[in-house]
Amino acid sequence: MPALSLGQAGPYVAGAYLAFLGLILVYVAIMAGRLSRLERELERLAALARRVGGEPPEEETGP
């Protein structure tokens, strides 16, 4: 097949690079979801640790 012109080949090249980028973004999004689950779990454990230690619940503080 003869080489495609820039106008014809452009969408294919853009599609391939977007697929690559999309794959990384989906992976990072899934990992971010897991990270937020870990954070929630950590909060639950912190509350449990306070209960076991007989400490009062921690108040929400600013950043």
Binding site: Y12, A16, I24, M31, L38, L48
Partner: protein
């Protein structure tokens, strides 16, 4: 543990990857034969190389697990294979896009390079179902490591077989050094380094996440044990106080 050095690694990865992609578009000349469509080569081939190396690395880590009995090696092997599978999806998608533009077909079943990669990909696609069909964690780790070793040994054999086979249409770009002259070769190597660094970064990232999850699980079970009501504590009861009424 695994999160140490992740930030500088991520920064280096980003710089090399963006630099490589910029070189692909602004430094490497347009291929005289294929035209602009050849630019896909700069992500497709590095992803294929890194994915295949990741599968082999998963096998080596599986062997380390079986020889040492250290289950951390199994986790490392699992993450390497998982990431290689993701890269494999990228290889198949970008390769199909390139094939459609270059050959006019999304897939050519007669081409040994394409079919062999698909065979490897499908082989590894059975890794996770196999692994998670076994409930006992020790058996699961042993079987998964055995799979990783056998499949990992199959990858280079498969690669050599494809190289020996007669190509139909897929270019053999790395069969000699003359195939990638000057700017093409430099750009390709930078992109390859970028994708390899991306793999290493994501591997460390996932390992850090899994390690943290494991530590949280252990902490939860320890705290649950501490919270659970144990046998009632023995109290010294003074004679005549609270004793049975006779």
């Amino acid at each position: 543990m695994y999160g140490r050095g992740l930030r500088p690694l991520a920064i280096v990865t980003l710089v090399v990857l963006i630099g490589g992609l910029a070189m692909a578009f602004f430094y490497a000349p347009v291929d005289a034969d294929q035209g602009v469509i050849q630019k896909i080569f700069y992500i497709h081939v590095p992803m294929a190389i890194v994915a295949l190396c990741g599968f082999v690395a998963g096998g080596v880590m599986g062997a380390a697990h079986l020889s040492s009995g250290d289950r951390r090696w199994d986790l490392r092997s699992y993450v390497a294979i998982h990431l290689s599978l993701i890269m494999g999806v990228g290889v198949l998608v970008t390769g199909s896009i390139w094939a459609r533009a270059a050959w006019g077909h999304w897939w050519v079943w007669q081409e040994p390079t394409l079919v062999s990669f698909l065979v490897v990909f499908l082989l590894y696609a059975t890794y996770q179902p196999l692994r998670f069909s076994i409930e006992d964690p020790h058996r699961q780790a042993r079987y998964a490591s055995a799979f990783a070793i056998i499949a990992g040994a199959f990858v280079p054999l498969n690669f050599v077989a494809v190289r020996l086979a007669q190509p139909l249409t897929h270019p053999r770009v790395l069969s000699s050094t003359g195939n990638l002259p000057g700017e093409f070769g430099v750009t390709f190597l930078v992109c390859l380094a970028g994708v390899a660094l991306l793999f290493a970064t994501l591997w460390k990232y996932e390992m850090a996440s899994k390690h943290a999850a494991e530590q949280l699980r252990a902490l939860r079970s320890r705290l649950a044990e501490a919270e659970a009501p144990g046998p009632p504590p023995r109290r010294a009861v003074p004679a005549g106080v609270g004793g049975p009424v006779s």
